[in-house]
């Protein structure tokens, strides 16, 4: 299992749209991914779970990944949360 922190770049935080993008990416990996924030944790393959974290813009979340593709997953998730979420999906 590997863990890393990431700063939320989405200007409105983990709302449904951001959660949806994280789920879409996470589902491409075999690894189990858990995201922790403010004493809560959520399965990163669940939109409702992620949204209920209510992680705000500029705060740090902890990403835990375990599985054979964990390195790849970690890298791509950090990029999504720290950089790509700042930009609307259709502008990338």
């Amino acid at each position: 299992m590997k863990t890393v922190t990431a700063t939320v770049s989405d200007p409105v935080g983990f709302h449904l749209r951001a959660a949806g993008r994280i789920v879409k990416l996470t589902k491409t990996f075999d690894s189990e991914v858990t995201i922790r924030y403010n004493g809560r944790s959520a399965n990163a393959k669940s939109i409702m779970g992620l949204a209920s974290l209510a992680a705000e813009f500029g705060t740090e979340v902890l990403i835990e990944v375990s599985g054979f593709d964990e390195d790849d997953a970690l890298l791509k998730l950090v990029k999504l949360i720290e950089i790509d979420l700042a930009i609307a999906e259709d502008q990338q």
Binding site: P11, V12, H15, L16, R17, G20, V23, R40, A42, N43, K45, S46, I47, M48, G49, A51, S52, A54, F57, A86, I87, A88, E89, D90, Q91
Partner: protein, 584 residues
């Protein structure tokens, strides 16, 4: 017989029996199952979800055709909940580990999720709980064998009463036999209000418990123009309302022929008649009433309905639809106007101590450049489908206008670089709704292409009164000399600079003020579609020079009371003249 006051959400009158809609909630009963039955329970859960999903899909299709794609998006998020991994995992785990029936396991999962959302100190998430409950009920209904609809349409013409109706409820209800709506919750922009206006039936919202207290079959009379509900009306009131309903039809028929004629005074002065709208579905009504364009397209709805920021493509879709349906007639887009009374927590606009003087309108947009630029790009892209103009709200000075124009320039550069189809040459105007914009109108006019006076805010800021505060709402006086002078100053400054000056705001919809607005020299009046034909009629039978004289007289008066009286006498005299004219 009792009379209750609510919020007038759709004009008109109706009288008839109540059709009460009670949203019956299913409470799952918990029962223990044997280990051997667990696979069956899981199968039952799958089937119930499938039933809920196909029901939802059907509703989405129906709503999409009724409201356009943005209307159905609300329900798409419910589809996501149905397919959510956590919802499935948790439900199956409860069935397996605690060996209880599927509906109870699902109910508990959803309850826990809702509790988690309720803990979050953010309005948006708490509102999401309504979606969760809606989904929960949908699935629980899926467990039931019968396909009995949870919502029954009226068999005879009736007034629909409920706490509130969701878009899916109104889609299920249909339009047959609906005389009008009375709701306990909601405001002017709630779904029911918009639907009622688009199908042309009266609606009263915000009745705070009076609507659900109504029994099916009891008689009511509703006045959607003033927001009054009369329960168990006596014969006299009933007859009066039936008469009003009939008159309404007659007046509408009389005004019907005005649809395709321009608003030109007998002495040849032309005023453009435009409509204020918010949704694609309102375009039809605007055109049916003879609107020559959209003078105010509010864009907030899209941002509020989603409760997430719509993407550029989402916005392009909805905006283009409106522009396309207007078929070459101009559409004035007002960029996002949040804050004030339209606080949206999810956009980061937290409640403020003094919201109307706070972070709203163009201030909010300039502080959220990315969001602002995205919207401006979407609007310009929609321009490829017809004729559009761009308008900024709450401008108080040249700095804001210049900075906003800078964002427009950046947006255009990006659109060109991306090779996206768009209108590169969109006129840019501003709302005149603050006293500072009025006083600096000549300075502002030099750097923009048009003005549109927003009278609701202008009156509020000029007279320093909060319309929502019942203790001072008596100060809302459109004919206050300061207001008349402000409008005149703005029109003069605009015309000196050679730019057109329009007006959007409730003042435009008041028939009694039509001559005043004409005399003030406005080039364009934008108002609610329903009021358009009447105002046009007044303009068509009033000489421009006479209206100017009327305004000169009103401007000499010292108080709004005097001006109201003068205007009332003038209108009465004109009516007598017309009636004499008719007999000759």
């Amino acid at each position: 017989m009792d009379t209750y006051q609510g919020i007038a959400a759709s004009p008109g009158y109706a009288a008839g029996p109540v059709h009460a809609i009670r949203q019956r909630a299913i409470v799952p009963v918990r029962r223990t199952v044997r280990v051997s039955e667990v696979p069956d329970e899981i199968k039952r859960f799958g089937k119930a979800v499938e039933k809920a999903r196909s029901g939802l899909r059907e509703l989405i299709d129906r709503l999409a055709s009724e409201l356009g794609p943005e209307g159905s998006d609300i329900l798409s998020s419910q589809l996501m909940i149905l397919d959510d991994e956590m919802v499935w995992d948790a439900t199956l785990a409860v069935i397996r580990l605690e060996r209880i029936n599927a509906e109870a396991a699902f109910g508990r999962t959803m309850g826990e999720l809702a509790a988690r959302f309720l803990e979050i100190e953010d309005e948006t998430f708490r509102e999401r709980v309504n979606d969760l409950r809606d989904v929960e009920q949908r699935v629980l209904r899926g467990f039931e064998d019968s396909d009995r609809p949870h919502l029954v349409s009226p068999d005879i013409p009736s007034v629909i009463s409920a706490r509130n109706l969701t878009p899916s409820d109104t889609a299920l209800l249909g339009r047959n036999n609906v005389l009008g709506f009375v709701m306990d919750e909601g405001g002017n922009t709630s779904h029911v209000a918009i639907l009622a206006r688009s199908i042309g039936v009266p609606a009263i919202v915000g009745l705070k418990g009076r609507a659900v207290a109504l029994k099916s079959g009891s008689q009511v009379a509703i006045d959607g123009t003033d927001g009054r509900l009369v329960t168990d009306p006596d014969q006299e009131i009933l007859e009066k309302f039936i008469l009003l309903t009939r008159q309404q039809v007659v007046v509408n028929q009389k005004l019907e022929h005005l649809k395709d004629v321009p608003a030109v005074t007998p002495d040849g002065h032309r005023v453009e008649m435009m409509a204020n709208i918010e949704l694609p579905v309102e375009v039809e009504e605007a055109l049916a009433r003879g609107a020559e364009g959209i003078g105010l397209l509010r864009t907030e709805y899209l941002f509020f309905q989603h409760q997430t920021i719509p993407t550029e493509d989402d916005q392009v879709r909805v905006y283009s639809e409106i522009v396309r349906r207007m078929d070459g007639r101009p559409v004035i887009f007002r960029t996002l106007d949040v804050g004030g009374d339209k606080v949206s927590d999810y956009l980061g606009a937290k409640r403020e101590y003094n919201p109307f003087l706070g972070w709203r309108g163009i201030r909010f947009s300039l502080a959220n450049r990315l969001l602002f630029k995205t919207q401006i790009k979407a609007i310009h892209r929609a321009g490829a489908s017809g004729r559009i103009k761009l308008m900024f709200p709450m401008v108080t000075g040249l700095e804001e206008l210049r900075e906003a124009r800078q964002v427009v320039a950046e947006a255009l550069e990006e659109l060109a670089a991306q090779g996206l189809e768009h209108d590169p040459d969109v006129p840019v105007g501003i709302m005149i709704e603050t006293p500072s914009a009025v006083l600096a109108a000549d300075i502002l006019a030099a750097e923009c292409d048009f003005f549109s006076i927003g009278t609701n805010d202008l009156i509020q800021y000029t007279l320093a009164m909060d319309r929502g505060n019942s203790r001072v709402s008596y100060l809302y006086r459109p004919l206050h000399p300061a207001i008349l002078r402000s409008i005149r100053m703005t029109v003069e400054a605009g015309h000196r600079a050679g730019i057109p000056v329009g007006l959007c705001g409730e003042m435009g919809s008041e028939t009694r003020l039509a001559e005043v607005l004409l005399g003030l020299g406005l080039d364009e009046i934008s108002l609610h579609g329903a009021a358009l034909p009447k105002v046009k009629q007044v303009i068509r039978w009033t000489d421009f020079t006479e209206a100017q004289r009327l305004v000169d007289e009103l401007l000499k008066l010292g108080t709004a009371d005097d001006a109201d009286r003068w205007l009332a006498e003038y209108i009465a005299e004109r009516k007598r003249q017309r009636e004499r004219g008719d007999h000759e």
